[in-house]
């Protein structure tokens, strides 16, 4: 175990972990929002994120982005990417609700049916991105769907440069952008849920759906809203992922989704601030573990954390569901 490396560059590993965890946290919000209101684990949420990454690449390609655009252009492309990803991910999440989950709710389907449906939807979306679209439109959009199930590289929008260096710890421009954008998105969501009339409606349905209806809350509208909100957060995560890592793949959501789900469970699924905490914590643990052992262990950590949390503290670090803890 490489303690020298971990403690010798502890600051650097912490910075790396936090910027990674911020992306997990953004995705985790989608699991937590839907769970908080419907007690449903939307396993297809990982693909909602992946759709967003393809949308980012699609928009960048369509608007002719080259490697390393100038600062003004880069900001424009970030904005275009954000809009494309938010629309694509939000739209996909909404479609899942309208096409699959709502009809099940109308039939009073048991929880297991929802769970199997969610897993099924996840697989369907993976194969649509990995097989169906390459076969149907691969010729038309070669940068996106040129080859089946392949890793697709993206142009570099911002070159990584150290922004601040303290001792031997440096924070890159990209890390700072990822971390603070994610935080900003989460702060906006938190404000929306806790301070607006619609947010109050969401919390009411989460806490007591029948009484929410007695107060005039349209439950279907609240449910659509949370799917869209979770989707938009996943879209933002997709943009940040694209900026930071610069590639995507139809199967990207599998491991990443499980990590984000772990982050949500770790923080206390249904709890928005818990998702932030869980995401950052997982990012840190992962980077520390990869340093101590080897990076091959990185992905294992998330699953170990998930199992340990489920065994010893299934309500997560913060516990309580959406709105109950006023968070």
């Amino acid at each position: 175990m490489n303690f020298d490396e971990l403690f010798g560059h502890f600051g650097q590993h912490t910075v790396d972990g936090l910027s990674k965890g911020a992306i997990y946290a953004l995705i985790a919000l989608g699991y937590t929002l839907v769970y908080g209101v419907l007690r449903l684990i939307n396993f297809a949420h990982s693909e909602v994120f992946v759709v967003g990454t393809f949308a980012v690449l699609g928009a960048w390609t369509a608007f002719g982005m080259q490697d390393r655009p100038g600062a003004g252009q880069a900001i424009l492309f970030l904005l275009i990417g954000l809009i494309a990803a938010a629309v694509a991910s939000g739209g996909t999440a909404l479609a899942l609700e309208r096409i699959a989950y709502r009809p099940l709710r109308r039939r009073n389907a048991p929880p297991l049916v929802f769970l199997i449906t969610a897993i099924g939807l996840s697989l369907v979306l993976v194969e649509i991105l990995g097989l169906l679209l390459p076969r149907l439109v691969g010729g038309v959009f070669p940068t996106l769907f040129g080859r089946e199930r392949q890793i697709v590289g993206m142009p570099t929008i911002i070159e990584q440069k150290p922004l601040i260096t303290i001792g031997d710890t440096s924070i890159t421009n990209v890390q700072a952008i990822v971390f603070f954008s994610a935080l900003l998105m989460m702060a906006m969501l938190d404000w929306f849920i806790n301070r607006t009339r619609y947010g109050r409606g969401v919390r009411a349905v989460a806490q007591n759906p029948e009484t929410a209806a007695l107060m005039g809350v349209n439950q279907d509208r609240v449910i659509m809203l949370i799917f869209v909100l979770g989707g938009v957060m996943a879209g933002a995560a997709a943009l940040l992922w694209s900026v930071r890592f610069g590639f995507t793949q139809s199967s990207l959501g599998f491991v990443l989704g499980l990590k984000a789900f772990t982050a949500a469970v770790l923080g206390g699924i249904g709890n928005l601030r818990g998702a932030l905490l869980g995401g950052l914590f997982l990012g840190l643990v992962e980077v520390y573990a990869a340093t101590l052992y080897t990076s091959a262990w990185e992905d294992v950590v998330a699953f170990v954390v998930l199992i340990v949390v489920l065994m010893f503290r299934p309500t997560g670090l913060l516990g309580e569901s959406l709105g109950r803890a006023r968070a």
Partner: protein
């Protein structure tokens, strides 16, 4: 006639809980619906509010057939319920719970005025406005549930067992306020097992037994009815 139930039938699965009940509430009245545990009082209230679908019959409110209207839309028509067991949103503050009552409204000046009115009726709620609803005492939660329903400025206030589980002094306080609300112009349909209190406050009343209305009359008539006395007022 503000509210009219015409031969309403409600079933849970294959079991019918209401076997065609008819009743009405006129503007300005307090109408009591009394009956033993399991008689179907709550089911009646759920049907009126629209969270339980009808198996037969019709409900009319202010001249409109609302039998198939979605529950959340009935609030805007002027129907609001304080449900059995109070059902406060536990993680919301007192103020947020009251705001939930005004969820369908957009007239902020009117909402602010009604908030003052509710705080006037229930000064305890004003003191505790920042406190989480789940941490209130039973009596305070009941006040909050009634206040929350009032925040929708209902034409008809539905109260399902407001006295349940409360101390006699608190019960009297709640019923005093119900009377006051009614005198200020709100029509009230009151469901109770506490028949004594309910009937002495009500203009009219109905007696529900295993899903059927078996008796109706003015509050005083029912209070002095020998059968009602024996079954519901604990007088032999």
């Amino acid at each position: 006639m503000l509210l009219e139930l015409d031969n309403v039938t409600v079933a849970y699965g294959r079991i019918e809980a209401l076997h065609g009940i008819s009743l009405h509430v006129d503007e300005g009245e307090i109408v009591a619906l009394i009956g033993a545990n399991g008689a179907g009082k709550t089911t009646t209230m759920r049907a009126i509010s629209g969270i339980r679908a009808l198996a037969g019959g019709a409900i009319r409110f202010a001249g409109e057939d609302i039998s198939r209207l979605r529950a959340d839309l009935r609030v805007g028509r002027g129907l609001c319920q304080s449900p059995e067991g109070r059902q406060i949103f536990p993680g919301m503050t007192v103020l947020e719970n009251l705001d939930m009552g005004a969820y369908t409204r957009r007239d902020s000046a009117g909402i602010a005025a009604d908030l003052e009115r509710v705080f006037g009726l229930f000064p305890r709620l004003a003191e505790r406005r920042k406190q989480a609803g789940g941490t209130l005492s039973g009596g305070e939660q009941q006040m909050l549930a009634v206040g929350r329903a009032l925040m929708s400025r209902p034409k008809l206030l539905l109260l399902d067992e407001p006295s349940m589980g409360l101390a006699p002094l608190v019960i009297k306080q709640i019923f005093d306020i119900v009377t006051e609300i009614n005198q200020q112009g709100t029509t009230v349909l009151l469901v109770e097992q506490n028949a004594q209190q309910a009937l002495s406050r009500a203009h009219r009343g109905y007696v529900l037994e295993t899903g059927r209305i078996v008796k109706e009359g003015t509050g005083q008539e029912l209070l002095h009815d020998p059968a009602v006395k024996e079954a519901y007022l604990g007088v032999a």
